[in-house]
């Protein structure tokens, strides 16, 4: 994995896991790779992966069964969706609105485009 974004690597690993949850690659209740396995796979410091896992655990997206490993929580995809939604509303939407205003795009124009998109 190339860590190209400007975010800290541990945050990029959290994003990667959340993406896998959203796409359903890692299903709810499923066991995920150990810290060591993922560190080897991604070629990163195991402490970095441990940091990502502990943050995801704090968020309730994964949980730890002592001595067995980490698992995806039952409500994980809903939780990830909520997190991503609020990030989208906070970061992407204002940029989008700004651009609409700048380019003088009307709301009806957009709504037509969206209806077309929905039909596809």
């Amino acid at each position: 994995m190339e860590f190209t974004s400007n975010k800290a690597i541990y945050l990029q690993i959290m994003d990667l896991i959340c993406e896998k949850v959203l796409k359903g690659t890692w299903g709810e209740g499923e066991k995920i790779p150990s810290v060591r396995q993922l560190a080897v796979e991604l070629e990163v410091n195991p402490n970095t992966v441990a940091r990502s896992y502990s943050s995801l655990q704090d968020d309730g997206i994964i949980f730890n069964k002592r001595g067995i490993g980490y698992f995806i929580s039952e409500e994980a995809s809903k939780m990830v969706q909520n997190v991503e939604k609020s990030a989208f509303m906070k970061e992407d939407v204002p940029t989008f609105f700004k651009k609409i205003q700048l380019l003088g795009i009307s709301w009806s124009e957009l709504s037509d485009l969206y209806h077309q998109y929905e039909k596809q």
Binding site: F3, K7, A8, Y10, Q12, V40, V44, N45, P46, T48
Partner: protein, 277 residues
């Protein structure tokens, strides 16, 4: 814990390279040792390994001192130098001679590693290329399971796939009771691996910080995204102006090690004060 205290060393008495250097290394970490050419990174590694004797000061690995060169010290330290010398024997014979000095040596792991590097036990060391010798020595070091593993520019001479292989092996064989100390100029090879970062300059350790504490206080970004009064160090470019700035937003950015290194060397006092706030 590995403790280096009041280390003073120079190649001549009048020209002191390290003056009262202190450094503490904690188990479970992969330290990256950075410094300019001639800053003495290799010398520092040799001093820690006990291959050079300091004028003053001590190197203490788990209660054993480098200056004693006792078996208890030597079996806990493995050094992978940049210039390697080997006897003219096969890898298999060599590991047979070397492994008994390291009680925790893992032969199975060793033969797995050399196989992953594309080497075979019957290869003769003198007939191998620099890169192949490096791979053999890296495998020996990782398999030795010593408390301290010192590596001097380990990715030098490795081809593209082997660099990735190297990162995987380091991630695999790092453990909570080991310390890896890796000196490097190839920061891009090791950017995702080394943490904390140690920088030596003018005979001192001028920087020793974890990535966590760096990113909590500092932001690695472009000039247009921060207030100019927060900028500590700037590198102008055609595409963008890269900056190290005080972190006032709480965003956790990815540490650009090249930028960090240049910032520490040129804005030493400002960097230190930003980190100690």
């Amino acid at each position: 814990m590995i403790n280096i205290n009041n280390l003073t060393f120079g190649y001549s008495r009048r020209k002191i390279l390290y003056d009262n250097l202190d450094l503490e290394l904690k188990e479970g970490n992969i330290y990256g040792l950075l410094g300019e050419n001639g800053a003495g990174k290799s010398t520092l590694l040799m001093l820690i390994a006990g291959l050079k004797r300091p004028h003053y000061g001590t190197v203490n690995v788990g209660g054993h001192y480098a200056s004693d060169a006792s078996p208890e010290f030597l079996r806990e330290v493995f050094f992978i130098p940049e210039e390697m010398t080997f006897p003219n024997i096969s890898i298999e014979s060599y590991v047979g001679v070397l492994a008994p000095f390291y009680p925790k040596f893992d032969r199975t792991a060793f033969f797995e590693m050399i196989a992953e590097f594309g080497l075979t036990p019957d290869m003769t060391l003198h007939n191998m290329s620099y890169g192949q010798k490096k791979k053999a020595l890296i495998s020996l070091g990782l398999a030795s399971n010593t408390r301290l593993l010192l590596m001097d520019e380990p990715t030098n001479g490795l081809d593209i796939p082997s660099k990735s292989q190297f990162r995987k092996l380091v991630a695999k064989y790092m453990s909570d009771d080991r310390v890896f100390l890796i000196s490097t100029h190839q920061v891009r090879d090791l950017e995702s691996l080394i943490d904390p970062i140690v920088i030596v300059d003018s005979g001192k350790v001028v920087f020793n910080e974890t990535l966590d504490s760096i990113t909590e206080k500092l932001l690695f970004t472009t000039a247009d995204k921060v207030l100019s009064e927060d900028v500590i160090y700037e590198e102008k470019g055609i595409a963008e102006d890269k900056v190290v700035a005080r972190n006032t937003t709480g965003d956790i950015s990815r540490v650009n090690l090249e930028l960090l290194f240049n910032a520490v060397l040129s804005e030493k006092s400002e960097m230190v004060s930003a980190l100690s706030n």
